[in-house]
């Protein structure tokens, strides 16, 4: 063991004495390793921040849908009774509601504004992560009475009134054929979720109102019969169980057991998609990097052969002094492995540094918090892999050195 340390020392000396050449030899390895690390570190950062963003928006949310014809050839419609059944019978449900969305128009003294109207129940308060900034959410009482009330988004309030605190004001909204004055009871805060800001298109005015009020005005009955409804589980971990239970309950109530016409769309699957996209990119880059590592490895082999020729007389001296074939072999293998290991370490530093810069710039541009990182397993994996490359491509030169005859080698000056 102490001998191994000696060989490593000898190898290190040789690298140190040929700094420039050793570094040039490493470049192929550095490029290969740094490109993989760059992509992995950026991928990790993006994955984490996008997933955090999506979880922040949709954590625990799932839709129960009936979009297929049942075997009897009829479409299934859910009713408020079904919603109540979910609330009563399924465990770990935080909120459950039908959600209807419609475009309308809001007019003030200046002009008309395109208006995105979400009509639901007071449970919809939980469907958005943004808190109520001013006032309150509309109440169950107002829902039952179909009162003309609404909650408005902070940005919309500023668009319409020039200020955010607009509780008690009224807006004139056209929904379908009906024109109604809605009293603002609450203002929902602006989103601080960067992913949402990036992906979500905000209309000029966005309001949330009781679906009962909308039905009263228009006669559409969107809160009476609907083909999907939103369920929010207590925690994201509960969402799969809640989805299963809801589907079972609905299949029983609609008598369509086993027909798979009632389905769910969990937001968890979005995160799976993002994961797999990043994994594919990583695999692709790894393949490209593998080519550069092979080229780098051949460079190492080449330089090791030069080194063996240059140091023929040194090898002869060592052999004359009693170095066995294996000792010489290990010395040169250690040198090759050390060059590639150093290349790997430098590659990791460059790759990680590059990723940190890219993520910093992206963070500033997108107003997000993307932090590039690599985990310990990647670091050790890369270190081991780059050493193995050195050993693999070092075998031929090392064998050549070890098999030199001592007299031939001593004669070489």
């Amino acid at each position: 063991m102490s001998q191994l340390m000696e060989y490593i020392k000898i190898a290190w000396l040789s690298i140190r004495n040929n700094k420039g050449r050793s570094f040039l030899t490493m470049i192929g390895i550095i490029i290969g390793i740094s490109s993989v690390i760059l992509i992995v570190a950026i991928g990790n950062g993006v994955k984490t921040s996008v997933l955090d963003g999506i979880n922040g928006m949709f954590a625990g949310q799932l839709y129960i849908m009936a979009w297929e014809e049942s075997e009897s050839g009829e479409y299934i419609w859910f009713t408020p009774e079904d919603v109540e059944a979910v609330r009563d019978k399924v465990e770990n449900v935080k909120a459950v509601m039908p959600v209807a969305s419609q475009y309308g128009v809001t007019a003030n003294w200046k002009r008309d504004y395109t208006t995105w109207i979400t009509a639901s129940s007071p449970d919809y308060m939980y469907a958005m992560p943004e808190p109520i900034l001013h006032g309150r959410y509309f109440s169950w009482e107002e829902y039952e009475d179909a009162s003309p009330v609404c909650v408005i988004l902070e940005e919309s309030a500023i668009n319409l009134f020039g200020s955010a605190d607009v509780v008690g004001e009224s807006i004139e909204v056209t929904i379908g054929d009906a024109i109604v004055d809605l009293r603002i009871v609450g203002v929902r805060a602006k989103s601080d979720n960067a992913v949402k800001t990036m992906m979500y298109y905000y209309d000029e005015v966005e309001i949330e109102m009781p679906v009962t009020t909308m039905d009263n005005l228009t006669g559409w009955g969107l809160g009476e019969e609907f083909d999907n409804f939103l369920v929010i589980a207590e925690t994201p971990e509960h969402s799969s169980q809640v989805a299963q239970d809801c589907i079972q309950l609905m299949e029983a109530r609609k008598d369509v057991r086993g027909q798979q016409v009632i389905t769910t769309d969990e937001f968890a699957s979005v995160t799976k998609q993002i994961n797999s996209i990043i994994n594919y990119i990583t695999i692709f880059i790894s393949l490209v990097a593998a080519i550069s590592l092979v080229v780098g490895g051949i460079g190492v082999m080449n330089i090791m052969l030069v080194s063996v020729t240059e140091r023929t007389s040194e090898i002869g001296i060592r052999k004359a002094l009693g170095a066995r074939t294996g000792s010489i072999m290990i010395q040169f293998l250690a040198e090759a492995a050390m060059i590639t290991l150093l290349g790997g370490v430098l590659g990791m530093l460059f790759g990680w540094g590059g990723a940190a810069v890219v993520c910093k710039i992206a963070s500033l541009m997108l107003d997000m918090d993307i932090i590039a990182y690599i985990n310990a397993a990647t670091v050790f994996g890369v270190a081991a892999f780059s050493s193995v490359i050195g050993i693999f491509f070092g075998i031929y030169p090392a064998k050549k050195a070890a098999n030199l005859s001592p007299i031939e080698a001593l004669r070489h000056e």
Binding site: R318, A320, A323, T325
Partner: protein, 230 residues
């Protein structure tokens, strides 16, 4: 005197078949413990080949080489390495120090291959360098020393692991006369300490320093003379 080295009917043939060169042609030789032998001959006489055989750097085409009574002519490369390490200290004409190692590290080399621990290795190497009068040059690299000093480092390297045989191949060939004298003095003192010193040279003045002179010519021993007075 028990026979340390015994060579029987040794032949070394280069290019067997056409253009055969008989570098050693049925050589018989024995060298006892604590002898001081000079092997002298012109270049091409076969003395270098004989030195390679004696130093276990090469194997003969035919014949037997007994070292301590054991046949070493049929050993593998690694076994020969071990014998060189334990039994023989080499001193070369070109010093053959490793340029990027210090004097101390050069002297430590054979001890590393022997598996001597770090602390003991350092002590042995320091003792050997002190013995050749280079206690104050331990951290110098070969390029920072004169030829005579480099050869003394090489001698320290040869004696560090206390081998019974010192094999010196033209040790003064690259040195001025003062340094040559120093080196010969050290070799003589090694002999007087009980080691067997074998000196290969083409210079009869140097050879005169030895107690026994073996003259090689055309791959054969021309004469083998033991000096009475020296």
């Amino acid at each position: 005197m028990s026979q340390l080295i015994e060579i029987r009917d040794m032949c070394k043939v280069y290019n067997p078949g056409e253009n055969e060169v008989w570098a050693l042609n049925h050589v018989n030789l024995s060298i006892g413990e604590n002898e001081f032998v000079a092997i002298i001959g012109q270049s091409g006489s076969g003395k270098s080949t004989l030195m390679n055989m004696l130093g276990c750097l090469d194997v003969p085409t035919a014949g037997i080489y007994l070292l301590h009574g054991a046949d070493v002519s049929e050993l593998t490369d690694d076994e020969l390495s071990d014998i060189r390490n334990k039994e023989i200290g080499f001193i070369f004409q070109g010093f053959n120090l490793i340029a990027n190692l210090t004097a101390l590290e050069n002297v430590e080399l054979p001890l590393i291959y022997r598996g001597v621990g770090k602390k003991q290795r350092r002590e042995l190497a320091e003792a050997a360098l002190e013995k050749v009068g280079l206690a104050n040059r331990m951290t110098h690299k070969p390029a920072e020393m004169s030829g005579g000093q480099q050869q003394r480092v090489a001698i320290a390297r040869a004696i560090a692991q206390a081998p019974p045989i010192i094999l010196a191949d033209e040790p003064t060939g690259n040195l001025d006369s003062n340094s040559s004298k120093e080196i010969m003095t050290i070799l003589k003192s090694l002999h007087s300490e009980g080691r067997t010193v074998i000196l290969i040279t083409h210079d009869s003045d140097i050879a005169m320093e030895a107690k026994r002179i073996i003259h090689i010519k055309d791959g054969k021993i021309d004469y083998d003379e033991v000096k009475e007075n020296a």
